[in-house]
Symmetry: C2
């Protein structure tokens, strides 16, 4: 309803409140035309927004895409971009309900807005963690940035065997499961790296944290631990739960790992296998600008 009108009109489920998230996807900051196929760029553009909805335990309802495009961009690129975006939208029954287009004098600039909903007062915030809560993460960590490092070195990658980087899956079902069962006390998605995003939970919850290095679901490789701690664009969910709550080992087919605990104070620490601990600082994920 209302597509082609002054506004899109979206009916939210009864008793729900609105969730809104907005994210830029910029050429040479979030993607490169020489590294990423257009359909991957479209997918990743929407995935960023859907992942934010997932991190609140929300249900995505509609997306709005604003695109500024260079005049020389081939129509085929745009078609493929939209194909990637719409394929992901279809999978989560998200309506592409509007947007705007303009010419860009330099690179491609996409701004994606996702409207979602969540039962009133049930959104899972970053601020709900308490001393003693356990820290969990979905999926594995580090393979998105590992693929990016290979791209940086000029390697050609198969998009299929590096799907975590090219077609990341927003964890909508995991977030919704946790919210429906009141399992998560705080939640965030890992877009800027575990160390940075856990820092956001600690900051908003006014707590510290201890991360068990040996428990991290690192994708592997020589620098697997560093990639798992600081790699961005993972789009996994990082959440906390009260210690008495039983969190399944797998939710909606996605493995869930216990990786640490919320502590007093305001510091984040990394507990290593040898029993020593080190201060864990936010890694400051910078995409590849």
């Amino acid at each position: 309803l209302g597509i082609g009108d002054d506004c899109a009109v979206i009916r939210l489920p009864r008793g729900h409140e609105a969730l809104v998230t907005t994210d830029f996807s910029l050429e040479d900051v979030h993607f490169r035309r020489s590294w990423h196929p257009a359909d991957s760029i479209g997918h990743r553009c929407l995935a960023r927004g859907l992942s934010d909805i997932a991190a609140m335990g929300g249900i995505p309802q509609a997306a709005f895409l604003s695109l500024a495009l260079p005049p020389e961009l081939p129509q085929r690129w745009i078609t493929q971009f939209l194909r990637g975006l719409l394929r992901l939208a279809d999978r989560y029954e998200v309506l592409l309900a509007g947007g705007d287009t303009a010419q860009s004098q330099t690179g491609i600039l996409a701004d994606i807005v996702v409207l979602g909903s969540v039962p009133t007062r049930k959104a899972v915030l970053r601020s709900g963690a308490r001393h003693g809560d356990l820290i969990y993460v979905s999926g594995t960590l580090g393979s998105s940035v590992a693929a990016l490092n290979q791209l940086r070195k000029g390697q050609k990658l198969s998009t299929r065997s590096h799907a975590k980087h090219f077609y990341p899956e927003p964890r909508i079902e995991v977030g919704r499961y946790l919210r429906q069962r009141n399992l998560a006390s705080a939640m965030i998605d890992i877009s800027d790296g575990l160390s940075t995003d856990l820092g956001h939970i600690c900051e908003e919850s006014k707590t510290g944290a201890i991360v068990y290095a040996h428990s991290l679901p690192a994708a592997g490789g020589a620098d697997g631990l560093a990639l798992a701690l600081h790699g961005g664009e993972e789009y996994e969910l990082l959440f906390t739960a009260r210690p008495e709550r039983r969190v399944p080992k797998e939710i909606a087919g996605v493995p869930i790992s216990l990786i640490g605990e919320i502590a007093g104070g305001r510091q984040m620490k990394l507990a290593k296998a040898d029993g020593k601990t080190a201060v864990l600082k936010p890694g400051g994920w910078q995409h590849f600008s």
Copy 2:
């Protein structure tokens, strides 16, 4: 709630549905730094979105601003831009609830999203006009483009005496009044010019229209009629009402003019004072690209 979280959480009034509109404001397309003070650009950026909400009879709730800015842009410009935007937001009790920022390699690019609400099934669409309905417009027409024409000629303008161009007022109260009383059968805001926007109502409603040239609230001047017919960025409301409905001459302090009637067929015509009629074609407002 939820500012600084993964999403903004916005509670809509009970029994309302969501309205979403998204609009680019691009340097050298929608504004020029040498013509428009930064606070006017911020005001106009938000006014575009609020006007879309007004045109549905909606109530604006929250705005989201994504800004891509050139690195050399002075902080003072950004401060003034936000001041203009926030002053307008305050006036309509709209929360600036989120957004994103990025660097732009060329000009300033702003993408504004406004989330509004309207009682379920009460949004005033473009498609509700019927043969015999009367056509009305709020305020006066043509002074925004008249100011633009003076700027094009290199004239310096007082922003105060050309407020219609520099600080256009979205007609939120007028739109809401019309919706609450079920007065408007179709409505649109005049962003692309009366001839183009009336064309949208005719297209969506599958009707024609006759506009009375002598009844247009033209701002005046030698080419007052042409400016009133085709000038864009007026942000007045253009609406239709069944002929038996009594539409006030003034709503919320804004004059309302009867300017024509919805006709059969699919053509728009202009009825002149001498009794002759001419075909009215959409003027194709192009900002100033």
